[in-house]
Symmetry: D2
């Protein structure tokens, strides 16, 4: 039987960031991943670090957490490069929330009081972003809402964790979790595993393990469909965003176009109808997209929770069992802050009481409408 | 310097069928192919053998030629299986030309006088084709307009030709053609080649060679974009056709959905706009397609001619130089008849005078509008 | 809650064939498939129907079962074509078990007493199979050990079942099975399901469900790695086989080259070392393979059992719960016979007592060495 | 007819870098690219900037040119990021030339007199590079021989050129070049083009145009085959190099493993034999590679010249016609220096006489053995 000080269940960006911060704090960590690292929701994401762009939806607790995560990315980027040689492809330029109607402008202008958020009118915009639709009135520019390439960022955390001593076990699915004689026992597709402490970070697939621990079923999938085209026009510097859809540029001149929101759909293949939807939204922002060569399409599942906030913390009854899952459409953004919070909790360091309360794993179902 | 009795320039379905019929007739044949066999327009095609569905566009000469080709496919299918073990995936079921409006019905009903063509009303249709749009009034069923998988059919002709002694030379681009001391000299990317007779079958790329022989520039591309989805509903037995767009079923449950028509576009990547167009047309025929998983997209170039008929015959001045190109959107259908006609011409067998005249390589530009 | 007369858990070739034979027998069937139909071991298989080639390993019970399955394929092929239009790509030509050494010849010659099995010496072989290694002494030709394209055959069974009324539910993972008030209750990723009878056909992943029913852990993975090349030489008519490795031709001129055997490895990506192994074995049979273009590589998991025979039958205690899993390296071959046996058991038809006993799901572990 | 001040024929990394330096110098540039930007040899390259590692082969003229190019990459990296947001993925860590035998050590130690080159013995190596073969005696570390991702670097130059006003015309193949009334006339697949000056940068495909200008056939292909695996061990910081083969790490944890050298082979598909060769070489350096999952394989053509040096300069008779082609296995390394040299020549700036002479396009065939 294999033994770990800490077993992290799941090697998406959340599990990988946790492994990095734990290894950095000196723990001996094993990541147990059912498939390959980053092959779940993580590889499907656009990679925007949209702390400001989700300001309203985030509310009081999540916004500062998201901002702290944005800032941790700067440190993490440098540390990963120095430990592994890997660049996580954090692209500056920020995000433009486009405005097509006067009422949108009014709503968005509020955001301009935030640090790093400014209003650009049509003229200054088109200069910066050739090809933008004529009908765009202006945009709110969120300079610090930069983006990374999610699979690469995940790989960066994983590799840095490895250099710091963590071990990554792929194709190791955890099927059952129990406690015997004070140790956690994990039954996996590669045999039994014993661990002193366990962190569940298996994203949208966390429920089946959580249920074994007596926690209700609180995470459900919101499928998102995306496509990529090759930009044949002038390069795009910023991400474009409107009405929950977006266009994000990559180093290889691909534009990532997303994404639909389909609740409770577990399929991971994009449908014709879904592709059509994202095409239409993208065309409204960047009409020239119609002439661009189509590359590929894919879908991923956002791990949604009832109140739009992740579950981060210790199990109320099973001591030593931690959960970090349910990051919805913001898991890339929130990965470093989540990793650090888990490492702090396990190290006994101080952690914001507000965050502990807001992300408590057994918090009651609230009445607020879920924000997808 | 390599020597051939007959060099066929191009290994698409036309060149491959020619090689097969020539080898069968006892000639020693070398196919010189710039890339891989079938990698040009052929692999992009849907594979409908639509002799009846194009009855009107075909006119008096092309229809009997197309019908003869349909019939040759039956023989060819058996011969290829017996020589090589390969099945060319000729699927029965035929083609349904859908009718949404009364005026379409009137126009199409004429076709029902043709052999193997019948009218099906809404009720008898939906029984046969579950999932069809409610708004379909009925359809003309063309029972003999079956379909093949183009790349496989091309491979079948090529392999059968090989068994009969033909040699296939891939990655051998013919750059120049000339005549010295009574022999054709071909300059290729793999060195010089000498041949007694030459057949140009390089599809939409034939112009650059034809021009060297004094023939005008008569072939131009009409790009076609396609997508494939996986059918998750009941299997489709027939191809569906409406307003130049179609849905063709494959053995693996994929539905091939095509195709746009973009003149003089040499790009071979589908654009976002093109994909959108074929999606919309397909949805009109089979609404459930919106729920089906998207698989891939591609584009190909139809080798178009000014009057919609292929060029098949001997060069007016350069004896021993034959041309078989410009099969537009019907090269899969017309491949066996073209191969046989070329073999007959080279063997000195009788060939229909009408076809010789209709497909003459130096026929004058006509005034008829080109039918794309 | 959804309700079924019979729920089949798993839509690989075994589950699909079961659905077909059950639907044909008039049952109302729902297939619950965790991912997409055929996406498990089935899509990775070579597709040989090697009843004779495994004669010795099969022993007394499995050989007649395998032969009956080979014969059922003829009927199934015709029925599937007639119901769905799909051709399952059953290629004739059979299989050549190659002999490089005198002792191999001796061992294999015994097989020639079987129906449809003959000895070919070097001379008659090379005629039939140009390109074969010079060092091959001869081969045993198993004419009836033809092959299909596994994904297509699986799709054929599935589509025919659909036409006969079965329903296929993809992305529906069964997580728990229980019995309440005389009905089976299945907990799935898409909610609860009730069924009167259940057939477990989830291949190598069957253990986690079987364990819930009190059956021991009797199925384990044997990973197999494969590659495909494009045959640039004359077409291959037969499959080639030597020392557990093989080369199988497809309609598109690809040669499927397999396969390694790695026990208890759950990974589904081929490794460099695995690819190297199959390359070397293939080169011994067909040296020209070194010049052929490489296309792709993949791996699959054979559902192995302790004694090399599948588990087919009713649960000893839970009435109405059937199991059909553990078909190792022969699930494609055995699919129709398995489907028919399950349908006969559920219909109350006669079934060979010998087969019932040999494949009994609670048979004791035997001492015989497992044949991988 | 379209008109350009300068037409660059070819949009590989050489043509793209030229476009960038010309646009930066204020010229109005059009790039005419037969397919897509970077789709030729460029996308197949490993991306090592191996000025030191090729010190000996480079000789007196090429080494300083290569070093200047390495340095230009630093500037170009920053300029591209600032103009376009694109990061060209220039990874530090350098290159390790591994030594397995005493005689190799002797030969390589000489290099340690060069700036940035040091000797590492076995002990200091394995610390830096876990997983290295036990039999490695040591390595010469070339710290400045870093690497980029070629397709991304090419895209960076192209996009920066676009921002500076250059226009990129894809799927525009130049078929003929001539001069009329003092202007260059280019016949392309998209119609006629007129240009005041022309730069031929069509890599290994340059001959067919060069021949039209009276220059002999001086460029031929040397095919290189590569594979990629996913590194499942600790991250690799440096490229590994031995006996013309190498392992280069990427941000996504892929290891690029290359490459064979096959002269005068125009095929762009890797063969089984080629893949086997690179696997074996890689295993000698990093034995654990055998356990790593295989990802993909590809091949590219190095544009080789008779004496191992590129052709860079003006045509001896046709004024205003420039050539920049034949960069063999070093085109990624040499791209910025080539781009800058062309821009300097066209601007009338000073250019090293030594380089002008060494890369003269009509230099005589030398007797030196070609270094592949
Ligand atoms: C279309 C789309 C766009 C998005 N865009 C953004 C964006 O721009 N910005 C942003 O911040 N976020 C974005 N997201 C959200 C982001 O992708 C997720 O929040 C994030 O990837 C969640 O990471 P995770 O590690 O929790 O989950 P995953 O990446 O899914 O990782 C969970 C891992 O656990 C493994 N696993 C599951 N079960 C088990 C088990 N039993 N045993 C062992 N391992 C197991 C899985 O194999 C998987 O690798 C987007 C999501 C989608 C779908
Ligand atoms: C979207 C689409 C759908 C279609 N659907 C149908 C259909 O349903 N039914 C139907 O009948 N037809 C269909 N077609 C038309 C059909 O694909 C073409 O008519 C047919 O493939 C033409 O065959 P070919 O052999 O002439 O050309 P190609 O297949 O293009 O072959 C020409 C070959 O010549 C080679 N070559 C070019 N230049 C040289 C050179 N200089 N030296 C050596 N080799 C050279 C090329 O590499 C190529 O392989 C469709 C076409 C498209 C694009
Ligand atoms: C390399 C290789 C070569 C082979 N070659 C041959 C050959 O030449 N001839 C031959 O006869 N056989 C061959 N085989 C063996 C053959 O592939 C298998 O025996 C056969 O595919 C098993 O079929 P199956 O339906 O039982 O399993 P699978 O095809 O794996 O199907 C099981 C299905 O169950 C689903 N599933 C799993 N768990 C659940 C759940 N909890 N709820 C719902 N669904 C679930 C899976 O998603 C899967 O689709 C080969 C195998 C390999 C790996
Ligand atoms: C396996 C391999 C590994 C390598 N590794 C390295 C390495 O580590 N470091 C390094 O420095 N170099 C490396 N190289 C070499 C490097 O790839 C080449 O030297 C470089 O890509 C050449 O660039 P290019 O722009 O001249 O050619 P290409 O990239 O081939 O570009 C030429 C372009 O011209 C276009 N074209 C052709 N004909 C026409 C026409 N008639 N009209 C219009 N356009 C046309 C083509 O489509 C193409 O896009 C490697 C090469 C290979 C094959």
């Amino acid at each position: 039987m294999k033994q770990s000080e800490i077993a992290v269940v799941g090697g998406g960006i959340i599990g990988s960031a946790i492994a990095y911060y734990l290894a950095k704090a000196g723990f001996q960590v094993d990541v147990l991943e059912a498939g390959e690292v980053g092959s779940g929701s993580t590889q499907a994401a656009a990679g925007m670090l949209g702390a400001h762009s989700e300001y309203k939806e985030f509310g009081t607790s999540l916004y500062p957490f998201a901002r702290s995560s944005q800032k941790l990315y700067e440190e993490a980027e440098a540390a990963i490069r120095s430990l592994t040689g890997i660049d996580i492809e954090r692209r500056t330029g920020g995000l433009l929330k486009l405005v097509f109607k006067e009422e949108e402008r009014a709503r968005l202008l509020e955001l301009c009081s935030l640090e790093g958020v400014t209003w650009l009118d049509h003229a200054s915009l088109t200069d910066k972003t050739p090809g933008l639709a004529e009908s765009v009135l202006g945009a709110v520019h969120m300079e610090e809402d930069v983006h990374v390439t999610p699979a690469i960022a995940c790989n960066g955390f994983r590799s840095a964790a490895q250099v710091l001593g963590a071990e990554i076990h792929t194709y190791t699915r955890v099927e059952k979790i129990g406690k015997e004689a004070g140790h956690y026992q994990l039954q996996t597709s590669k045999g039994k595993w014993q661990a002193e402490r366990v962190v569940i970070a298996s994203g949208v697939w966390s429920n089946s393990i959580l249920e074994q621990t007596g926690l209700g079923s609180s995470i459900f999938p919101v499928k998102g469909e995306c496509i990529a085209v090759t930009n044949t026009q002038a390069p795009l510097r910023c991400s474009l965003f409107h009405d929950q859809h977006y266009i994000v540029p990559r180093n290889n001149n691909e534009l990532i176009i997303g994404a639909t929101k389909v609740e409770n759909d577990w399929t991971t293949e994009p449908t014709l109808g879904g592709i059509q939807t994202v095409m239409e939204k993208a065309r409204q922002m960047l009409p020239g997209i119609d002439e661009m060569p189509f590359r590929r399409s894919w879908a991923g599942l956002r791990p949604q929770t009832f109140d739009g906030k992740p579950l981060i913390g210790e199990h109320p009854e099973m001591k030593g069992l931690f959960i970090a899952a349910g990051h919805q459409r913001n898991g890339i953004l929130l990965a470093p802050a989540t990793g650090k919070m888990i490492a702090d909790l396990l190290s006994g360091n101080d952690v914001s009481e507000e965050w502990k309360e807001a992300f408590r794993v057994d918090r009651p179902y609230s009445n607020e409408e879920v924000l997808l």
